[in-house]
């Protein structure tokens, strides 16, 4: 692996560029987090300084945490997000495999059918979906939200995964078949591990809109018992909110779990990506 021949100067420039872009990504978030720990006057008088003894103030957090049961909200968000991702990955990979692997009459038609869902925002179907959830008694349940998000996530998942599955060696699969492996074994044992990078990527993409969705929790699961973090935080960031301490604290509280989740997840993600690439 001693093939890297780039000059130290080139490497330096690469790092300068990467660091500059890192700053652009992190600074806005940092600005919010830092100011959430300051008093109202200090937020406005000196937004670009760190909090010190005179400006440090947790009033925003007291306001926000005094309002709701954020831990419960967080658990609800976790259940819904993880459940939906699991369903999207499993069902999506199975469907993508069927579409990319086998030649059958309805193949192209089904592929297009599954792609329809990418083209219209699911939000439009709200009233029908809600009626269905009422009929199935799934209002104010985690399962109701998981079903919606699974349906919402599947089209993109199938789209990306079939692209990646077409890149899986045909010889490998045929070798498996000659060894007498069944189609299910080939899928679960041979193909799935090879597309792990794509699975990890799809997982992250699926997670973002689910975790951050405001609409369906508001409509389908507005009850206190199933309320998600985003819905909980929203009540502080509405149009009529002037209390910047509370707003900045609520923003920070909404950012931190996502960040924690991503940090935990990103190792899996990278391991998945590199495992597929085999250096």
């Amino acid at each position: 692996m001693d093939r890297s021949r780039s000059s130290p100067l080139g490497r330096g420039l690469v790092h300068v560029a990467l660091l500059a872009y890192t700053a652009l990504c992190l600074a806005p978030v940092l600005l919010v987090v830092v100011n959430s720990f300051k008093s109202r006057r200090a937020i406005f008088a000196a937004p670009l300084t760190w909090p010190d003894a005179s400006s440090f103030d947790l009033v925003g957090y007291r306001t926000v945490l005094g309002q709701g049961v954020f831990l419960n909200y967080f658990i609800n968000s976790m259940i819904v997000t993880v459940g939906s991702i699991a369903a999207v990955l499993l069902f999506g990979a199975m469907a993508a495999f069927a579409l990319s692997e086998y030649r059958f009459r309805l193949n192209t038609a089904l592929g297009l059918f599954l792609a329809l869902g990418i083209m219209v925002p699911i939000r439009l179907g709200t009233v029908s979906i809600l009626q269905m959830m009422v009929a199935a008694r799934l209002v104010d349940t985690h399962l109701g939200l998981i079903l919606i998000y699974t349906a919402q996530g599947l089209p993109v998942a199938v789209f990306i995964l079939s692209e990646f599955m077409q890149g899986v060696s045909k010889d490998l699969k045929d070798a498996g078949r000659i060894d007498g492996l069944g189609e299910y074994t080939i899928f679960f044992r041979l193909v799935l591990p090879l597309v792990r990078p794509a699975l990890a990527t799809v997982a992250v993409f699926t997670m973002v809109p689910i975790w951050n969705d405001l609409w369906f929790p508001l409509i389908v699961a507005p009850g206190e018992a199933t309320r998600t973090v985003t819905l909980g935080a929203q009540s502080f960031i509405g149009q009529f909110v002037t209390n910047w301490n509370a707003v900045l604290a609520a923003l920070t509280l909404a950012i931190l779990p996502v960040l924690a989740l991503y940090l935990a997840f990103s190792r899996q993600l990278i391991r998945g990506i590199t495992a597929g690439a085999v250096k």
Partner: protein, 421 residues
């Protein structure tokens, strides 16, 4: 499509539930839908306990949605049959439409409805006035809140009463340079319309007279009395803060409460928030009249009411709640718990908050009127209220002249509204 089957299944389910749970006044929980998420603590601490104390067996669950999403979320939930028992009603067409879709019931037979005058009921009644479908709760008043320290600093002894005095005072503040004269911005658009055009306008179009003439088709938005408010509004721009084109509504609020601005074009709902945040004495004055001695008009807008969801499982409990809302006890509790929201009952309520008192005193000298675009005129496409937001902001931004703005509004209205002559 099989949706029909699913829908009927859903309806059957709801019907079954309704049969299985015969309405018992005792042990009912009423869920209240509202857009007032800012009021959540006050409901939890004051209003809910007061009701539950006087009505054992009925529990309240106040479940507000952010104002921006309220209409869309509520309509979806009503259509699917999952909305709460008690619905906070927006005034006029939004609620009238719900009533027509049988998603609100008549409240004519609620005891205590005679505590309200016709103007209060108008916001939540059918066009012929025969049926009222929500119990009126509160109105909001409009005027200008000012920083007393700022007025003292630049030497303004009494708040301006006429338009000329208003601009003279703004000039003084601007010249002094310590304060931004007017705390207002245009990007949210509604601010320019609701706190600008609709506040100063009634003094030019003579309140209810002009509003009704417009509905009757006797006046047009291009008439001088409707264009002049835009001309006045256009003159505000130089007194607003740097970058007012991107100054959002919360920006304006903070600018004023941090003591950086002298005058804030206000709705009375700001009172509680401002008093908790501002560290200087505040006063209020009504919209300045065109010339000394002119009659004055007050934007006294019906804002919120409560109605009943016909699909409620506890209609008796819901009626008990609405009866309580129509009572003087509630009026007193609400007006004082939420200063700036003034009861719509005919019997005057003693308001304790001094700034709220100042606002309510405007009612003595000025004739009340509601916002010109709310009744009937915002029923079609293009929507007059939306257009008024956009054009009010455009006039201040200098994108449109007052005359252009008025012409656009009238053209939009003409395209669908044809009052019987």
């Amino acid at each position: 499509m099989s949706m029909k089957a699913v829908t009927s299944w859903a309806l059957a389910g709801v019907a079954l539930a309704a049969v299985a749970l015969p309405a018992r006044a005792a042990d009912a929980t009423l869920t209240i839908e509202s857009w007032r998420n800012d009021d959540l603590p006050i409901w939890q601490e004051k209003i809910v306990p007061a009701f539950e104390k006087s009505h054992p067996g009925i529990k309240l669950n106040f479940q507000p949605t952010a104002p921006k999403e309220y209409n869309a979320a509520l309509n979806s939930k009503l259509d699917a049959g999952t909305a709460g028992d008690i619905i906070a009603c927006r005034p006029f067409d939004a609620s009238l439409d719900l009533f027509k879709k049988k998603e609100l019931t008549s409240v004519n037979d609620i005891p205590g409805m005679n505590n309200f005058g016709p103007v209060a009921k108008a916001g939540w009644s059918t066009d012929d006035g025969a049926t009222t479908f929500c119990v009126p709760v509160a109105a909001v008043l409009h005027g200008f809140i000012y920083n007393k320290d700022a007025f003292k600093k630049v030497g303004i002894a009494t708040p301006p009463a006429t338009a000329d005095e208003f601009f003279a005072d703004l000039d003084k503040i601007k010249k002094d340079g310590t304060y931004v004269p007017l705390a207002m911005g245009t990007p949210d658009q509604w601010e320019a319309a609701t706190m600008g055009y609709q506040v100063i306008g009634p003094n030019y179009w003579h309140g209810e007279d002009g509003r009704k003439a417009l509905i009757a088709g006797k006046e047009k938005l291009t008439d001088p009395e409707w264009v002049e408010p835009f001309r006045q509004l256009a003159r505000w721009a130089p007194y607003m803060g740097d970058g007012f084109k991107a100054q959002s509504y919360p920006d304006s609020q903070n600018m004023f409460t941090l003591g950086r601005a002298a005058i804030y074009p206000a709705g009375s709902w700001e009172i509680a928030q401002f008093e908790s945040q501002a560290q200087f004495p505040m006063g209020a004055f009504p919209a300045p009249v065109p010339k000394a001695g002119d009659p004055c008009y007050l934007s006294d807008h019906v804002d919120i009411a409560f109605g009943m969801n016909p699909k409620t499982k506890s209609p008796e409990a819901a009626k008990a709640f609405l009866t309580w809302v129509a009572s003087p006890d509630f009026a007193k509790l609400y007006s004082n718990a939420l200063p700036g929201f003034f009861s719509l009952q005919t019997q005057p309520i003693d308001v304790e908050n001094p700034l709220a008192k100042e606002f309510v005193s405007f009612r003595k000298d000025c004739k009340s009127t509601i916002r010109s675009t709310y009744q009937i005129l915002s029923r079609g496409t293009p929507n007059l209220e939306n257009e008024t937001w956009v054009e009010s902001a455009n006039v201040i931004n200098g994108t449109d002249t007052p005359e252009q703005a008025a012409a656009k509004l009238q053209k939009g209205l003409d395209s669908w509204y044809h009052p019987a002559k």
